[in-house]
């Protein structure tokens, strides 16, 4: 995977300028990084499969026998939950002739994993249980044909997969984000609402947009009503994430159209934590937003260079979500408006990149998060490896 040549059609000089030491000397990635199918193919293999990719929620495969097939980069992966409650992940290919065990995107609940082609059957732990009418063949030993396991981990109720098998340990990948998220403890939170959007833009523009609030005064009147963009500050990170916070105005309690909460403050957080929205990009595909009374994620799946699927989900403490009459729309309505403002901007940026006049541009200090993400990408394009991102301040004088 190590290479000194960036993937075609990128050049070393185009990437070196993203990595300039001084922010003011640095420039954004070239358009080809967003437009080229060749780059996306490279990213799927070298960025997504080599990372810990979020593929959904533990509750997607909650019960014994639950099965779900997902895509990670170019790989199909089958998730199963066994009788002991343990999660397993396997390459989604039968050991016989390679038929998919379940079509990607589909779910099932069965006591066994069943290949639809020749009816081979595997246990939820991957062991071959029955190769129908194959057993009389001499030298056929069932134990030699289990499904091939893929690394998986559950973190605060989200499932992450490392398809390449050689990413750093997950605890190292997330670094201190575990401590930062712990007071919210989203593990047992339940989904109040979930929207999915298919955007006509490259997946990286969605992450870049999330990493800066320089655009907030121009396009987010509702967000600016509850949180002043100038309150942005960066968070000290030790893992593969970038993050920052926005402080609420004195008269706002949360991110909603009227600044009021329709839920309860999360039990584990401090008074100080309740004054901030914390935004995290956990590479490569999860945006995690912690708020005083709820948690939100955006999970990204690139579909093509110019098309990205985004699932936006709002999570609430179980006792709040199950309260009669609870209505998650105070959160979902606010963010649906804000999402659409952001997504329109991301789609427009993509249109601009498609013009012959697009050139790499400069970064403002408030965009050092965008620069840090692009520097991670530029480094990966040059070395074939994920490196930890630069520390960011989002334009603030200090980092918390």
């Amino acid at each position: 995977m190590n290479t000194s040549l960036p993937p075609a059609p990128l050049t070393k000089s185009e990437l070196d300028i993203v990595l300039e030491e001084r922010l003011s000397d640095a420039r954004t990635l070239p358009a080809d990084a967003y437009l080229s199918q060749e780059i996306l193919d490279w990213e799927r293999k070298n960025l997504l499969e080599a990372a810990w990719v979020c593929v959904g929620r533990s509750s997607d495969v909650a019960k014994a026998g639950d099965q779900k097939a997902v895509r990670v980069g170019t790989q199909g992966v089958l998730l199963t939950r066994d009788e002991s409650g343990d999660l397993h992940a396997f390459y989604n290919a039968c050991r016989h002739r390679g038929h998919e065990l379940l079509a990607v995107g589909q779910c099932a609940n069965k006591k066994l994993v069943q290949c639809p082609y020749h009816a081979w059957v595997f246990g939820l732990n991957g062991e071959l249980r029955s190769a129908t009418q194959f057993m009389d063949t001499e030298n056929f030993n069932k134990e030699e044909w289990p499904l091939i396991e893929v690394r998986s981990v559950e973190w605060f109720g989200w499932i992450f997969i490392n398809a390449s098998g050689d990413a750093p340990e997950f605890s190292e990948w997330v670094g201190n984000l575990t401590e930062v998220v712990a007071p919210w403890d989203p593990t047992d939170m339940v989904i109040g609402e979930s929207h999915s959007y298919t955007l006509k833009t490259n997946w990286k523009t969605v992450i870049e947009n999330y990493l800066e609030c320089y655009h907030c005064p121009s396009i987010h009147p509702e967000l600016c009503r509850v949180a002043p963009p100038e309150s942005a500050m960066g968070l000290h990170q030790t893992g593969m994430w970038l993050g920052g916070g926005l402080e609420f105005r004195d008269d706002a309690d949360t991110n909603s159209l009227d600044g009021r909460s329709g839920g309860d403050r999360i039990a584990g957080i401090s008074d100080e934590q309740a004054r901030w929205t914390l935004y995290f990009m956990l590479a490569p595909n999860l945006l995690l937003t912690l708020q005083p009374d709820y948690v939100m994620t955006h999970r990204l799946v690139p579909l093509s260079p110019g098309e990205t699927w985004v699932e936006c989900t709002w999570y609430f403490p179980r006792e709040v979500a199950e309260r009669p009459g609870f209505d998650p729309s105070f959160a979902a309505d606010f963010w649906d408006i804000t999402n659409k403002q952001d997504f329109a901007a991301c789609e427009s940026v993509y249109q601009g990149m498609l013009t012959d006049g697009y050139r790499p541009g400069p970064f403002d200090e408030r965009e050092d998060g965008v620069r840090a993400f692009q520097a991670q990408l530029a480094t990966a394009y040059l070395t074939g490896r994920w490196e930890k991102p630069l520390q960011i301040s989002l334009g603030a004088s200090h980092v918390v």
Partner: protein, 320 residues
């Protein structure tokens, strides 16, 4: 119908272990090691009267050279338990298949096990208790029966002290399931075996518990006989699309009965594992005997594996 090896075993011991409960020890003629098994496993017996019966293994899983089962003489025995009680003698040979396990003791190391046994339903629970005890898993047992005299293995269980609660009906009435199960307990799995009335009540109360809590082994509906009676009972199958009606006989599968009537449903494993013969049920309630369908599919009864599953209603209408 089964890929499990057939074993011819000798009855090496027999004892009356409670009123109406006879235990049998079985071993190979040369006393060589037998296939290993896990708590919850059973053996399938071929009885000389042509019946097939399933009995849970209840000795130590570490006992490599013998199997033990305990059989209740059912008041309305269909012949299986009566034969085992009255005709089988030490030295006789029996044909069995297995062991198989439809009732695995699936528990996490930090979870608690709550065992509920009714009458002869104690048999699959005993090895689970030994396993839990050996592995340091927190457990407790509530064991009900008609009277102390009718309840097998009481002496063994008394060694476990207060973890075991004995509820003879003639002294204490029924098990107080409401107190036991009324409030869902965190990190607890419930393992239950016994007559259908007990299982139905336990199943009802466990509805408010988290999914996956309850593990149970059901004897034949409405019977105290510990046999699962895999092949008992005839019923009618209507093949809706083909416009054919046929009787499924004792010991016959639905696929075989349909085959007699000229309707070929493709099958592969013919043991309820591979799913090739999964068929939509238009009317009637299936008696699922397969190893594949999940709980929701099982409960909905919308499909069934017709190579092994049977009917709870006198008639099944299938989409074939």
């Amino acid at each position: 119908m089964s890929s499990d090896p057939e074993l011819t075993l000798e009855i090496t011991g027999a004892a009356l272990v409670a009123d109406g409960v006879r235990s049998l020890r079985l071993a190979r003629g040369d006393r060589a090691a037998l296939p290993g098994w896990e708590p919850g496993a059973h053996l399938e017996f071929d009885l000389p009267n042509g019946q097939i019966r399933h009995y849970s293994l209840c000795n130590e899983t570490t006992d490599a050279n013998s199997y033990e089962v305990a059989v209740l003489l059912a008041p309305e025995s269909r012949g299986g338990s009566e034969y085992i009680h009255n005709d089988l003698q030490v030295g006789d040979l029996v044909t069995v298949r297995g062991p198989r396990n439809n009732f695995p003791f699936a528990i996490g190391s930090r979870e608690r096990a709550l065992f509920i046994a009714g009458g002869i339903g104690i048999t699959p629970i005993l090895p689970m208790i030994r396993r839990a005890h050996a592995e340091g898993i927190e457990w407790s047992l509530v064991y009900g029966g008609r009277s102390r005299e009718s309840m097998a293995y009481l002496e063994q269980l008394q060694h476990f002290g207060s973890r075991v609660q004995i509820v003879p009906q003639d002294e204490l009435g029924h098990i107080d399931l409401q107190t036991l199960l009324g409030v869902p307990q965190p990190d607890t799995k419930v393992f239950c075996c016994g007559p259908s009335g007990l299982l139905d009540a336990v199943q009802q109360l466990c509805r408010t518990w988290p999914d996956g809590t309850l593990h149970l082994e059901r004897f034949a509906a409405g019977s105290l006989d510990a046999s699962v009676q895999a092949d008992a009972g005839t019923f009618t199958v209507v093949a809706e699309r083909s416009g054919v009606t046929c009787e499924v006989g004792v010991g016959e599968s639905i696929t075989d009965a349909l085959g007699r009537a000229g309707i070929i449903v493709p099958t592969s494993c013919r043991e309820g594992i591979c799913g090739t013969c999964e068929t939509k049920v238009i009317a009637g309630i299936p008696d699922h005997r397969d190893f594949l369908l999940g709980d929701a599919d099982r409960e909905s009864g919308a499909t069934m594996l017709i190579c092994v599953s049977r009917a709870k209603t006198p008639e099944l209408i299938l989409d074939v």
